[in-house]
Amino acid sequence: MILQPEDFWSFYEWLMRPESFLESAFLQGIVLFVLAIVIGLMVGYIISANRYGPGEGFYAVARAVRDLIRFDLPGTSAHRVFALAKLAFKEAIRRRVLFVVFLFVGLLLLAGWYLNPESSDPARLYISFVLTATNYLILALALFISAFSLPNDIKSRTIYTIVTKPVRATEIVLGRMLGFMAVGTVMLVPMGMFSYLFVSRGLNHQHSEVVDVVEEADGTLVGETDFVQDHKHSFTLYSDIDAEGNALGTYSGLTDVVRGHRHIVRRDADGNFEILSPEPLRARIPSYGEIQFYDRGGNNKDAGVDIGAERLDAGGYGSAGISRVIGLSRGSRKIQHGYVEGGTLGKAEFTFQNVTPERYPNGLQLDLSLRAYRSYKGDIESGIRGSVTMKHPTKDIESNPKTFVINEYEVDELNLETDVQGTDNNKTRDLNVFEDLVDENGQLLVIIKCLDRSQYLGVTQSGVYLRAGDNPFWWNLTKAYVSIWLQMAMVIAFGVMFSTFLSGPVAMVATFACVLLGFSAEQVYDTRHFIDSGIERGGGPIESMVRLLRQDAMTTQLDVDTTAAKVIKTTDAGIVYSLDAIATALPNLPKMVGTAEYAASGFDIFGALLLRHAAATLGYCLLAFIISYFFLKSREIAA
């Protein structure tokens, strides 16, 4: 998982974008609301002018707006909303939607059929499986119950007995939305619990015996566990000592990490071994730093070495808000690995904030997810080596480099001790990290280099972080479920909105189209990026069709005559730009689905990220609510 720059934004940065307000979510929201209001008024006027004539039509629109502000919003009663929500809830429950929970449990029971037990990281597999299954089941369910309910009531005319009571359109819409959200909540809770049980019980196992235990020359015990669930561990045990340094006769230690977990192993004075259950699942709380690259000559650079066409392929503007739609955002904003050349002055320098003894009482834990790139084969058996150095941000004090071997596709966990050897103005001395290397603002530099000449080490900003602590897994899973809940709320709001003026199946298709377009937003952004930058990547829909029929490659020049090419490209640009505008107006669901990836990779889901999603969901629900109100209010229920 490579985090993009926007993933690091705090809630405020996302909302306001202090340096580039054009990209801010706030502006995007305002523009969306204003556009919705303007288009709404225009469409409303056209419809009512058609119905009542130009003059009377104007008054009808004005009256509708006045009614909302003067009567319907202030007159909305919590009691009635609650009654209607309860009705929607009962309807769904008595229509046996809870069946979906059983379906989910069934899916978990049969999961063994399609989850590979020999996976190298079963935790990731299990977690992403339960989250994906929950996500799609709940979204599909939300789609169905929200899109069909109101049209069904209108078709069966039960709505007649509702609207002839003192019930306002606001209450009908709000009641539905809240009722269905309650249904979703009632389903997500047991699904979450089953998921937790499935993951934690499914990963739990016990090694009962040790084999081949040998006492090494330095007094440590080295051995292996037995083979359980397609894996075994090797371990090293150290003799336990009391405060005076006397051996107690017992040993303890950790196994190596196999399949994403390790065990604590103990040996008592009688020589009996005990292997504990695997360490509980964790959610790492990363503290990311700012990254700065230096090239082989030691000059600072914006990016690392590009070892291929990574940057070109990256594509996409990302979510640049309004600025992309109006064409002000140029160039790729996607981050890929930047590489550091080995054996030169090239390095990647991370500045970490807020490094205090209170935050890191047990020393600094540095997690590395790096890539290696070999420009020659070398010794393929041993990995490429890198080093980590801690440095004072301003003074010339640094620790001695700590070397490590790059482990690709896994997280390397380096323990940086707080008392280290280092150099202070070229004089060697003992250093304390917090006293000597961290400046008065709590900043610390960590420098990563590649040691092998002409080999490369790839880093990203999110690949290197200090681990401030761990959150329990259940809490992270809860946050992932909150994210699913937010997506569900969004789908329900859209479903109810469309169902106020479309028939059930059409409302469902419309909602589905919105979800789909929301899901492919990033691809639309990418396509636009390629069209804007003149990069041949298959072009827009028509160009792609032509290429498909002619069996042309994606990256070649479009092989048709100039006029035809011009027509095709212009039409395509029109289509892609419109899709881009629509996709920007829709909720960015993949970003929200992506939060599951955090949980699966064992990262704590940041509060800021959830808060952003929550704010966006609230905004869209509000918009859907207002649109639904006008449609329902202006609709002839009995027509």
């Binding site: 309807e91 609207v163 229920i637 009995a638």
Partner: protein, 351 residues
């Protein structure tokens, strides 16, 4: 001497619509004088028209053409007409379920599109469009909540209404298990949940058995007694005749007749005499007198309505369960014999 109860009713001559209106206005002016703040008019439609259009705005049906009616406080007003005459459209326009193409509807002096008018309205739709997955009690509780009723008041009202419509035994069953008549009762109960001042009933007696329909009519009359206004539309003419004070007859979206039921049904040039146990000699004498005056006359035993017969039989069988002696076989032969008998007796009487 037999006890003669002679009642001779003679109607005023009604020739033109204008007199009907004039007369009914005077009749209602008296009612309005009872001192009501609403100036007596509960529903008023002004030049009300409705044109159904298709998706493209093309005219499909002109369902209602410039309807002007007034429903006054405390009366039972009937809308009559064949299918497609615009009665349902009128009710829907009054409720705000449809928007008028032109003209206006005022209910309690408020525009029909205003939600607040519904506080005082009870509506029983044509078929009881209720949530089948709720029980009777839940249904009524739900509609009570929509009126923002407090918990205690709601509970009391719900149990009152369940008793009123006689569903105590079935109140915990889901409506999907109900018979048509039972659903109808729940529909009625929900229309009365807010103790409305105006009750709109769309075909109130359809789908009900004779007992149910009698109960419905009794209920309408009792609502009237409580001073409520009732607007109903129906094509069960007998029902309308039984309960309505005034009727409007619609056909093809146009108002064809409007007036007091009693007045409209009066046959101007026929006189009806009701007596008991008339001896044949007296009968002959009366005939002779009328013939001398140059008139014609038929004398016959009046027939009771089917409704009365049915209700009598049911009441009797409830009082005394078991087989009842059937008065005739009802075969065509017997019917023919009966007819012959009457003809003979009439013939005798005629001589």
């Amino acid at each position: 001497m037999p006890n003669f109860a002679l009642s001779i009713r003679k109607s005023l001559t009604v020739d033109t619509d204008s007199t009907v209106v004039a007369e009914s206005e005077t009749a209602n002016a008296a009612q309005a004088g009872n001192g009501d703040s609403d100036s007596g008019v509960v529903i008023e439609t002004r030049n009300l028209s409705k044109i159904y259009r298709d998706f493209w705005g093309r005219k499909k049906v002109n369902a209602l053409k410039s309807l002007d009616i007034e429903v006054r406080k405390g009366e039972v007003f009937g809308l009559l007409g064949p299918n497609g005459s615009g009665k349902s459209t009128t009710i829907k326009l009054i409720l705000g379920l449809l928007f008028p193409s032109s003209g206006r509807v005022l209910v309690f002096d408020k525009d029909a599109s205003e939600t607040s008018k519904n506080e005082r309205i009870g509506y029983l739709p044509e078929e009881s469009y209720l949530y089948k997955f709720l029980t009777a009690e839940e249904t009524l509780d739900f509609y009570g909540r929509l009126f923002d009723m407090s918990g205690a008041a709601r509970k009391q009202r719900v149990s009152e209404l369940i008793e009123l419509v006689g569903l105590q035994g079935a109140k915990h069953r889901q409506l999907r298990e109900y018979s048509k008549g039972m659903t109808r009762r729940v529909g009625l109960a929900q229309a009365l949940i807010n103790d409305p001042d105006l009750v709109l009933l769309d075909e109130p007696t359809t789908g009900l058995d004779p007992i149910g329909s009698r109960e419905m009519k009794d209920l309408i009359l009792s609502l009237k007694k409580q001073g409520k206004t009732v607007l109903l539309c129906s094509h069960q003419l007998a029902d309308v005749q039984d309960v309505c004070d005034r009727v409007a007859i619609l056909d093809q979206g146009e108002l064809k007749e409007l007036g007091r039921v009693a007045d409209l049904l009066k046959v101007q040039d026929v006189t009806e005499i009701h007596t008991q146990r008339l001896r044949p000699e007296v009968e002959a004498e009366i005939k002779a007198i009328i013939e001398r005056e140059g008139g014609t006359c038929t004398i016959d035993n009046p027939t009771a309505t089917m409704e009365d017969l049915f209700l009598n039989i049911v009441r009797e069988s409830e009082a005394r369960p078991g087989a009842r002696r059937v008065s005739g076989t009802g075969t065509p032969q017997e019917a023919a014999k009966e007819d012959q008998k009457t003809e003979e007796s009439q013939g005798e009487a005629g001589q």
